[in-house]
């Protein structure tokens, strides 16, 4: 084998999945689902190792399903107004409620006591978190085994768990030990609507009884153990995961395909969807395989052996778009994707790419969703766009709707600057973020931060940052400071500073061209010196139109003089502004027109910026004679003005012409032209007039 062959072999081994790490927790659960009542009847054994540096005499545990137990729970109280769709559950179901209650918790055979706690809001109606008092304290490094008998009821499918009829998505369903923050304490938080979950890595061994013949999909790998009367017992196991979820359904089927990863090794892709739609399986398998390959190649080889995509039927549509380790829900399953309008979109592929992306940031790296939701959601959103762009292109990555292309990033770009006040992305805990800003804070702002960084510093640089971060922090629950640390080490202080600023600054940066003014040059009225003489220029001056013109305006050396007014900026110290006279070599040269008398123009433009320290832009001044001036502005300061006298008027000003600053989600106002151009105004005004004429016709026909 030659040297290249050895190198490739070594690279293959380096890139293929490493064995999963040991976990300090294990769950063995046996549970029975009664689909008629939605009831769960479970027995659970938890072995938990104390990784804290002190004795532990009580352990907090999540009873997530209790978030759905009454209208006064913290989840309902804080969520209904924002996720209005949940309110329909109350109207449509006689008993939509879900709950979990342990009937017995034992340590070494001794019955333990527990009580509901509400450290976040003191809500006495909330039982989503309990504190279990141990019989014997657990010393650092020691383990304790808790045996729990519990009963529960799944809610009528709400907020990505539960079900009814003949489909159930079984998530957040069992009493679960609260996660321990690295170097910290238990993550004692109740369950609130705006955020999701956090837990330490554990080994799971789950046996579940479901009606005979029902389809099943689950975290990990499993098998049918036995059929017992009208019940099938299935067993699933998975090591080193933060959670465990299942989906079961009478009319569902699980179709598996083995995919050879681009980085080596293979992964079983399961598509769990309503029966009768096998022809769609290749499409969803392909989307999953592409996601696997993109992230395995650019981040880390996928470390698990399976990935399962659940495409719920009608009864489970409220479970859509949610991630769990090695299993996630995509969009709705079934006939919708055969419908003409939906068929040409890649919206479900987008959901699959997004939820698969969570496998890395929610499941493998596993950040704290209660406190730092922006880390998982934001990074996943960035990588969703990368997966879609890599595989199908940015312009139409999301397919076509009514024959019009759906841009991968179209959801984050808006037409007008936000009127809402946005706190810094790093603000926390995340469960306090409300309503309108959840999407922007957790998804768009972090994602556009990374898009901007990739465009400013290079995609390869940001890929290196992410791959180092994921490889170094896999299975370790990093915080945002750890990510910044990796960025500084791998990409340098400029990249780290840019990322940090984007997370620390409140508000959304918006560059915009405020004004563009042009007037024909005429000598300024008053006394002007002409050699040794003083000439009075009155307001009706009809002498030489170029009298008093600065010599530089003639551009005899081919360079263009621009006056740049910079008002300065302040931080801890004041940086004084100035008026700088700068000579520019032109990006594009003038189109010379012979035989015409030269007319000079005074042009000025004012641009506004966000006054950030690490968001530099290029500003292009485009003149009517084809001359283009390109100025690099560091973006420090709230505005900047350009003035020039030239033999051609300023035609347009464009900030960030390549749209590198994706953080600026209002790119439309980044440019301003002096003259109207394009047919859109005329065409659209006619069309909208037609629309109003139609309204009038409708009113005349019906009223």
């Amino acid at each position: 084998m030659n040297r290249l062959g050895l190198f490739l072999l070594a690279a293959c081994f380096a890139a293929s999945a490493a064995p999963l790490p040991e976990s300090s927790i294990s769950y063995t659960i046996e549970v029975r689902l009664n689909p008629e009542t939605r009831d769960l009847d479970g027995k659970e054994s938890i072995t938990w190792q104390n990784t804290l540096d002190r004795d532990v005499d009580s352990i907090p545990m999540h009873l997530y399903l209790n978030a759905f137990s009454n209208r006064g729970s913290s989840w309902f109280r804080e969520t209904l107004g924002e996720r209005f769709i949940e309110s329909t559950i109350l109207k449509r179901f006689e008993d939509p409620w879900g709950w979990t209650e342990p009937s017995s918790i034992r340590q070494d055979g001794v019955e333990l006591e527990w009580e509901a706690i509400a450290p976040d809001d003191g809500n006495h109606l909330d039982r989503s978190l309990i504190e279990v008092a141990l019989h014997q304290p657990v010393a650092p490094g020691e383990t304790v085994t808790l045996n729990i008998d519990w009963k529960g009821r799944l809610p009528a499918a709400a907020a990505r768990t539960g079900g009814y009829d003949r489909f159930f998505f079984i998530a957040q369903w069992f009493p679960k030990v609260a996660g321990v923050r690295p170097g910290g304490d238990f993550n004692r938080h109740q369950f609130f609507g705006p955020t999701e979950f956090f837990a330490n890595f554990a080994n799971y061994d789950v046996t579940i009884a479901i009606p005979e013949g029902w389809g099943i999909a689950s975290t990990g790998k499993g098998e049918l153990l036995r059929s017992d009367g009208d019940v099938d017992w299935h067993r699933y196991q998975q090591g080193s995961v933060i959670d465990f979820a299942l989906a079961v359904g009478a009319d569902m089927e699980n179709v598996a395909t083995t995919h050879e990863l681009a980085t080596g090794g293979s992964v079983d892709i399961h598509i769990f969807q309503p029966k009768g739609f096998r022809h769609q399986v290749p499409r969803w398998t392909d989307a999953t395989a592409r996601s696997l390959d993109t992230l395995s190649t650019r981040l880390l080889p996928y470390p698990y052996e399976t990935v399962t995509v659940v495409l719920p039927p009608r009864a489970g549509t409220r479970a859509m778009g949610m991630e769990y380790p090695t299993l996630f829900t995509g969009g709705p399953g079934g006939e919708l994707w055969d419908y003409r309008i939906a068929k040409t979109t890649r919206l479900n592929e987008g959901v699959i790419a997004h939820e698969f992306g969570h496998q890395y940031f929610n499941a493998i790296v596993a950040t704290n969703e209660f406190e730092d939701a922006f880390m998982d959601e934001g990074m996943t959103e960035y990588w969703t766009a990368e997966i879609m762009s890599d595989n199908w292109g940015e312009e139409s990555g999301n397919g076509f709707l009514l024959e019009r292309a759906l841009n991968v990033n179209s959801s984050s770009i808006v037409a007008k600057p936000a009127t809402a006040v946005y706190p810094a992305v790093w603000s926390g805990p995340s469960f306090l973020v409300r309503g309108y800003s959840i999407g922007r804070q957790f998804y768009d702002r972090p994602a556009t931060t990374f898009q901007t960084a990739a465009r400013l510093f290079g995609r390869d640089v940001i890929d290196r940052v992410f791959s180092t971060y994921v490889q170094r922090w896999q299975f370790k629950h990093p915080r945002v400071e750890d990510f910044w640390g990796v960025a500084e080490e791998v990409a340098g202080p400029d990249v780290a500073a840019m990322l940090r600023e984007a997370y620390l600054q409140p508000g959304i940066p918006d560059y915009r061209v405020a004004t563009l003014d042009v007037e024909e040059y005429s000598p300024p009225p008053g006394y002007l010196r002409d050699g040794d003489e003083t000439v009075l220029v009155d307001i009706d001056w009809d002498g030489d139109a170029t009298f008093g013109l600065p010599a530089e305006a003639l551009e005899e050396d081919g360079r263009v003089l621009i006056e740049i007014l910079d008002p300065g900026h302040t931080r801890e110290l004041r940086t004084m502004g100035n008026i700088e006279r700068r000579y520019f070599d032109t990006v594009a040269k003038a189109d010379k027109v012979d035989g015409e008398e030269t007319v000079f123009f005074t042009s000025s433009a004012r641009i506004n910026g966000p006054d950030w320290d690490h968001l530099p832009v290029t500003v292009e001044l485009r003149f009517a004679d084809g001359v283009v001036i390109s100025d690099a502005w560091d973006g420090k300061g709230v505005y900047r003005e350009y003035r020039t006298v030239r033999p051609s008027p300023l035609e347009s000003v464009v900030i960030d012409p390549n749209y590198n600053i994706r953080l600026d989600i209002v790119p439309v106002n980044n440019g301003l032209s002096r003259e109207v151009s394009g047919t859109a105004p005329r065409d659209w005004s006619r069309w909208v007039t037609g629309l109003y004429q139609l309204f009038a016709e409708g009113a005349a026909s019906w009223l």
Binding site: R314, Y339, V668, S685, R686, V688, T689, G690, S701
Partner: protein, 273 residues
């Protein structure tokens, strides 16, 4: 002078058609100018849109549509004005085209003006009916949506079929109501009746005798014109615009005016049959 003579020679039917067409043009012209001015200053001066290919992709379509609301004020007023003028026109058209009416057939609007208040009263009742129909349909389909969820109807039926049915039923009911109020207005102008409460009985009697021509044909005419216009607007937008489409739209408005003239003539013939 010659122009006036020429105008005098225009037959009443053509006069009625052109009057309706001009209502659309002139009532919405200020809105058109205002909207174009607004878009010139916003979309027209933004280099972002200059490189965008037509027809616009979904992103640019969304960005552009959000600019439209700023310039729609005059158009809304124009639409409202057009509707009021169309009421006057309908009364005028009935008078001008009615062979038994002692009316100056050259003055469509002058003939229609006295009926405006009565027509607005009819419009008020129509509004009550339209709102009631809307809420009735909403109630029905909200309950169907709940049933769809509880009984696990397929997604396509829940989200697509149900909404299509809702729109279709609403459209049919509104069209039925619209034709009824059309007859109210025709009768009012023909009889110069001031007590509108006597009219429904006469209309239902007409429906019983001539269900096809009094109701079905009228409904088909209304539905046909509206569907044609909706289709044209959709196709215009999908094609990316252009002068040809605008001209085609103006011709369609002219066709709509002809259909309305036909509706009035047909109604008059039916009453005098």
């Amino acid at each position: 002078m010659a122009l006036t003579k020429l105008f005098d020679r225009v037959p009443p039917t053509v006069r009625v058609i052109l009057a309706r067409w001009f209502i659309y043009i002139f009532a919405t012209l200020p809105g058109l100018v205002s909207m174009q001015g607004h878009l010139n200053e916003s979309v027209g001066k933004r280099p972002w849109f200059q490189g965008a290919e037509m027809p616009l992709d979904i992103l640019n379509l969304r960005l552009l549509i959000s600019e439209l609301s700023g310039g729609a004020g005059m158009l809304m007023l124009g639409g409202l004005l057009a509707w009021v003028l169309l009421l006057v026109w309908l009364a005028g058209a009935v008078r001008v085209l009615d062979p038994q009416a002692a009316a100056d057939t050259k003055k469509v609007f002058a003939n229609g003006r006295p009926f405006l208040w009565r027509y607005l009263r009819i419009a008020f009742f129509a509004l009550v009916v339209v709102v009631s129909v809307h809420f009735g349909i909403k109630l029905l389909f909200t309950s169907l949506a709940a049933r769809a969820e509880l009984q696990s109807w397929p997604l396509e039926r829940t989200y697509i079929d149900l909404n299509l049915w809702r729109a279709a039923i609403l459209f049919v009911l509104l069209t039925l109501a619209g034709v009824f109020f059309f007859w109210m207005r025709v009768m009012t102008a023909m009889t110069d009746e001031r007590k509108l409460r006597y009219l429904p009985r006469r209309i239902f009697r007409l429906y019983r005798k001539h269900i096809a021509s009094a109701l079905l044909m009228q409904c088909a005419a209304v539905a046909g014109v509206l569907m044609l216009q909706v289709t044209a607007l959709y196709a215009w937008r999908q094609a990316g615009g252009g002068l040809v489409w605008f001209m085609a739209w103006l011709l369609l408005l002219l066709f709509a005016a002809w259909v309305w003239q036909w509706r009035v003539l047909s109604a008059l013939r039916l009453v005098y049959r």
